[in-house]
């Protein structure tokens, strides 16, 4: 702990505080711009920080990486455009809250979530990174497969009320996840010789279409503004207070986000979605989710913010990055002579702990920035539609274009925009589709990998203790909703 006290002292030096603040600001801006995620932001900043002290440079990069997610939540809430794939679930309730004039409250929740989720995640990273890294290694293909199946079982909760339409959307999502290069067999599937989808349906482009483009179409139908009341109600502090009224969801979502982050390859994009679906499942009034339920924003943002430190666990403790962002961060660390791996805690403790201390402080800085900006930014939702619609379209499609500098990504976004519009008019929700799209490949490839390892024997799916626990949880998740009423009738019958 002595090292940690020293690290905090180091971070509080003026140049490091400046790097921290600079990284946080830049990260928020990168996050706000759709299409530019933390990985691009970090890669573009490398020349800037090249001549700095390694620890200072890593503080800048860490702050950038951490705060970009918050930037993404701003556009997700205010204009229904996810800054990055990780903010997809924030849209679901954040944007409807804006429509009710509660944009400031939603922004308060997301800033508080950055503080709380980030802090819980960081505490786990600081105290138990090697332990969590060893835990992550216990997960082989069979365990990954079962984790993905457990995650898919949440679709059952999401589609409650419109089961058939929900399952159709989930099926479509799973089907779309098969497009592209089949990792196991080495074949291209359903690409029709169109190279842009050979890597699979690009997630951010699809998200921009499903949410931003669809929303622009919907807004263009009327001449009002996003906030239907044409006025703002509720403040940032109301959001912060609302947040702490739900401690159970807060802890649940933090742990879920952390868990998803720790497993390499599951990724931030699913953390928010899974936490949202989980919160809906345990809620007493699930029907309010997706219609501006503050708890939805709370769950999604808490999980994504706790996910990022989780993602760093394997990156730092094993040298194995779990996501694209983490891979870039790993590259940056190596350039500055800090080689991540099990030995980094003994070889370079001062750099690692100053990075941790900086990430810890970033959470607070995000909260303060959010507090000052929320009210001013929420005014966007009062702009008339004929101003905001072109703005949403230009910014989001530019974001799509910027990912690969190619026009076809704009075409993909527009196609998903049309799909989203049709789905919306037909009463379908895009969430099951997203869950299918995000989890489909994880289910399929790990199923095949497990069977390749076991030589075709299905016993691998219940061999380990983790497998057994996961199978049990999946069964509970599917049967649970029916068990409650059954139990009730049983006990009432006895009376």
């Amino acid at each position: 702990m002595d090292v940690f006290a020293q690290a905090i002292g180091f971070v509080l030096q003026w140049q490091n505080l400046a790097a921290l603040a600079g990284g946080t600001f830049f990260g928020i801006i990168i996050g706000v711009l759709p299409g530019l995620g933390p990985s691009a932001g970090m890669a573009l900043s490398i020349p800037l920080v090249m001549s700095w002290h390694p620890a200072t440079a890593l503080i800048f990069m860490g702050a950038l990486y951490k705060s970009s997610n918050y930037g993404g939540s701003l556009t997700a809430i205010l204009v229904n455009t996810p800054g990055d794939a990780s903010n997809a679930a924030t849209i679901l309730d954040g944007y409807p809250m804006c429509q009710r004039g509660m944009g400031g409250v939603a922004l308060g929740i997301s800033a508080t979530a950055a503080l709380v989720g980030g802090t819980i995640g960081m505490i786990c990273l600081i105290f138990a990174a090697p332990f969590f890294a060893d835990f992550a290694l216990e997960f082989g293909p069979a365990e990954y497969f079962l984790t993905a199946v457990l995650a898919l079982s949440l679709i059952a909760a999401v589609v409650q009320g419109a089961t058939i339409k929900g399952l159709i959307a989930a099926g479509l999502g799973l089907l779309l996840s098969t497009v592209g290069f089949d990792v196991i067999a080495g074949h291209l599937r359903y690409t029709f010789d169109w190279a842009p989808v050979e890597d699979g349906i690009p997630l951010i482009q699809a998200l921009v279409g499903l949410f931003a483009v669809t929303q622009a179409l919907v807004l263009a139908e009327s001449a009002a503004s996003i906030s239907r009341l044409a006025e703002l109600s509720g403040s940032f502090w109301e959001g912060a207070r609302t947040y702490f009224r739900h401690p159970a969801i807060m802890v649940r979502s933090s742990l879920l986000g952390l868990f998803v982050g720790i497993l390499p390859g599951v990724g931030q994009s699913s953390a928010g979605l899974l936490a949202w679906a989980d919160a809906k499942r345990v809620s007493k009034h699930p029907e309010t989710f997706g219609k501006g339920e503050p708890v939805g924003v709370l769950a999604s943002e808490t999980a994504t913010n706790a996910c990022m430190p989780g993602d760093l666990v394997c990156t730092i403790a094993l040298g194995l990055p779990g996501s694209v962002g983490a891979a870039v961060f790993l590259g940056v660390m190596i350039i500055f002579g800090v080689v991540p791996g099990p030995l980094v805690f003994t070889n370079k403790p001062e750099v690692i702990y100053s990075l941790f201390a900086a990430l810890f402080l970033t959470s607070f800085l995000i909260f303060i920035i959010g507090m000052t900006l929320a009210r001013r930014l929420a005014v966007v939702t009062l702009l008339p539609n004929n101003l905001i619609v072109p703005l949403i379209l230009v910014v989001s499609l530019l974001g799509s274009f910027a990912i690969r500098n190619e026009m076809y990504d704009v075409i993909i976004s527009l196609a998903f925009g049309a799909l989203g519009y049709v789905m919306l008019k037909g009463g379908f929700t895009p969430i099951p589709l997203l869950l299918g799209l995000v989890l489909g490949e994880m289910v399929e490839t790990n199923y095949h990998r497990a069977l390749l390892i076991s030589g075709g024997s299905y016993s691998i799916f219940y061999a380990s203790v983790i497998c057994k626990v996961l199978v049990l949880l999946t069964i509970l998740s599917l049967v649970g909703p029916y068990l409650g009423p059954f139990w009730k009738t049983l006990t009432q019958g006895e009376k």
Partner: protein, 316 residues
């Protein structure tokens, strides 16, 4: 006699000086360096590391342009028809472009591209979990007894090719290959003992090797890697194995004039010898090895029949 020689030399000098050289004023505008992957990966980082030093010697700005998508195929297809004026260059991990050609229809041919210079070479290693086999001999005995599961960084990747070649040479009849997307997944699965061994680029596993969690048993190369110098190579164990050279370098579009190639090759060669670049390379544990234009072209020509030989196995 001497006089005639002098006259000839003078005449030659005049011709050389006054001859309208195609690339005489080259370069007079920024040069585009296309990276076939998203920002942040190994290819991108190396391109961004060498670019400032190339700028210094080329006396022109070098602009990095990322063109990710379909493992680089999209970038390669566009590059095939790019004007050979020396203002567009491409960098990628050779031979991934040739492997893509063998996996399906492509609108480009790697052998058409004009090789300029490659600065680094990397080799594959065979790694096992630190708690299992201690030596290559023990591993080989186990592999011949029953099929082991082996991790790959992708079906049809260079690790896959090298694995197939090694199997052939070592006399192992069957391996259950388990493809991953990139090396992080296959290395993690090995560290968790879900796999018996993994084929990977040496650089991907160094931290876990240094910590003793993983053990490298064989380096597929002609000479030992200075960063893991205690790992034996096949030659020392009595095997005569061919290797796929994995090069990081730069190429120009098809039919680029020789004088432009010369200017670029010199600039890249000098850049790769700059101390600043050597320092970055050492941190990234890159094995620097200059490969000139002609040598690079030979590596491309040699790789075609070699990769074609294993094509059937790759697409199976």
């Amino acid at each position: 006699m001497l006089k005639t020689l002098k006259c000839c030399a003078a005449a030659a000098a005049i011709v050389l000086v006054t001859m309208p050289v195609y690339g005489a004023d080259y370069p007079n505008k920024p040069v585009r360096l296309i990276v076939t992957a998203a920002p942040g990966g190994g290819e991108d980082t190396e391109a961004r590391a060498i670019a400032p030093f190339v700028e210094k010697h080329l006396k022109a700005q070098v602009v990095i342009e990322n063109q990710p998508g379909a493992g680089g195929k999209i970038a390669f297809e566009k590059f095939q028809n790019t004007a050979p004026d020396g203002y567009s260059l491409i960098t990628y991990t050779f031979p991934k472009s040739i492997i893509i050609e063998h996996q399906g229809k492509t609108g480009y041919k790697t052998k058409d591209f004009t090789p300029i210079f490659a600065w680094s070479r990397s080799s594959q290693i065979l790694i096992v979990n630190g708690e299992t086999w201690k030596t290559f001999g023990e591993f080989l005995k186990a592999a011949k007894e029953k099929p082991l599961s082996g991790g790959l960084s992708g079906r049809g990747s260079t690790t896959h090719l090298m694995g197939l070649i090694a199997l052939d040479e070592l006399g192992i009849s069957k391996v259950n290959w388990v493809p991953y997307e990139g090396s992080a997944g296959s290395v993690a699965a090995l560290a968790g003992k879900h796999l018996d061994f993994t084929m990977s680029l040496a650089t991907s596993a160094v931290p876990l090797i240094q910590a003793g969690k993983l053990r490298p048993l064989l380096l597929f190369s002609d000479k030992r890697d200075p960063y893991i110098s205690d790992v034996p190579i096949p030659k020392e164990l009595g095997y005569d194995m061919k290797f796929i050279p994995t090069l990081r370098g730069v190429e120009a579009p098809p039919k680029t004039p020789a004088d432009i190639v010369k200017i670029l090759e010199d600039a890249f060669r000098k850049a790769s010898q700059e101390q600043g670049f050597i320092d970055i390379a050492a941190k990234r544990k890159m094995v620097l090895e200059p490969v000139g234009s002609k040598e690079y072209a030979k590596a491309v020509a040699d790789s075609y029949p070699f990769i074609a030989k294993f094509q059937a196995m790759l697409t199976k």
